[in-house]
Structures are given as C-alpha cells and as structure tokens.
C-alpha cells in the first residue's frame, strides 16, 4: 500500500474524514497513479505482507455512533500459528474429528498436513472478500 493511501486510512481511523470521503480520495489517488509505458516489462507484483480485515457499520447501534473495526495481521503470524498447530498430538486430533463428525462436519484433521496449510496461506495473497450490506461492510484482503 502506498503512503497516500495509508494516510487516507489513518485519517479515516482518526475520524477526520468519513468513509465516503475516504473512498473518493482513494479513487482519486488511484487515478493519479502513472500508467506504465507501453512495451515495458510488467513489474512483478510485490508479495503481500499483511492480512487486513475492515468492518464498518455506519448505523448508529445503541446510540453510540458508527462502528469500525480495522485489523492488520502479518501473514508471517498466520504461518507461525499454523506451525504451532502441527504440535497438536494425534489423540487430540482424533477427538476433534469425532466432535466434528457429531456436528455434521466430516473432516479428517489428521489428513491435514502442515505443508497443506502453508500452501493455503501462500494462496491467501489473492483472496479478497467484500461483503456489502446496508448496515455493515466487511472487507478481507491482503496488502
């Protein structure tokens, strides 16, 4: 993410501008980005470092005013967490499997290897989830 966009989000988080104003500013910044010259080799896309979750609800729940949640988690933290799950003993995994089966989720966690989860996190780079509803907006993406 470039510095201008970060500043806009910072102003938004500090309440200096509204979400609509932030959106307009980000659009303007994106329009100002210079196009790469034709024929030039495309630059490799920088690898995302963070997973962002942004939730904004413009509604005035409980009279407290609009709410906003903005979480930025390093992808490295996800990888470290995944490595920790590989320490779970097999007995515990089989118990979890039984409970999952009871709940109608027939997933065998013993078949899920750490390298599979690593690959899953690697592919998270391209994941973008946008949920737009009148009362709330949820965005999950990597940057």
């Amino acid at each position: 993410m470039n510095e201008q966009r970060r500043q806009i989000l910072q102003m938004l988080s500090e309440g200096k501008i509204t979400a609509d104003e932030a959106e307009r500013l980000i659009d303007a910044v994106e329009r100002e980005q210079p196009e790469s010259p034709p024929g030039a080799a495309p630059r490799p896309k920088p690898r995302p470092k963070y997973l962002r979750v942004v939730v904004s609800s413009p509604d005035n729940f409980g009279g407290d005013g609009p709410g906003q949640v903005n979480v930025r988690v390093p992808l490295q933290l996800l990888r470290a967490g995944v490595r920790l799950t590989s320490l779970i003993p097999p007995q515990a995994l089989s118990q979890v499997n039984v409970e999952l089966n009871k709940s109608g989720v027939p997933i065998d966690l013993t078949q899920l290897k750490p390298q599979h989860i690593e690959e899953l996190i690697e592919q998270l780079d391209d994941v973008t989830v946008d949920v737009d509803q009148p009362e709330a907006r949820v965005q999950v993406f990597c940057e």
Binding site: G67, V71, A92
Partner: protein, 86 residues
C-alpha cells in the same frame, strides 16, 4: 526480532485519549522471574500432553517474532481502542 514497543490508545466517551506505550524488553526483564516459572510450567505441561517441548518453544518464539506490524483498531461512536505492535 521480538516486538520492541506495544502502543495502546484508548479514546474515552469524553473524547480524551489515553495513550500507553509499553517497551517490551524492559517489561520482560522486570517480569523475568515470573516468566521463568511460566516457561517451566509450560514445559511440564508439554511433557504431560506429549507435545515436543522444543517444538513448542520454537513455535512460541516464531509467533512472538511475527507479531511486529500487527495493528488492531476498534471504534464505536466516540470511543476507540487502538493497539499496534512495533
């Protein structure tokens, strides 16, 4: 690199900000006697639950080292809580 500084900012309903900057290393040094006991208790728990103590220590270290850059912001009306790890 383990986290150096944890910044906690809280905006109260009256609009005033409470800012806390916690230097991690000095706090860890102050709490080191308690931490040693906690690590020992953790190692015993690992042995009892048949989890590799070395793997658990390594995993915890990796988790700590990956923390810098984490930022959590929650705002509701006039109140807000911002936590960032540097």
């Amino acid at each position: 690199m383990i986290p150096q500084l944890v910044a906690v900012r809280h905006r109260r309903t009256n609009g005033r900000w409470l800012r806390l900057y916690i230097p991690v290393l000095p706090v860890l040094l102050v709490l080191s006697p308690v931490l040693v006991l906690a690590v020992l208790a953790g190692l015993v728990a690992c042995v009892l639950t048949r989890i590799s103590p070395v793997g658990a220590l390594r995993g915890t270290g990796q988790l700590l080292c990956a923390l810098p850059g984490t930022r959590i912001e929650v705002q509701q009306g006039r109140t807000a809580l911002l936590i960032s790890v540097h």
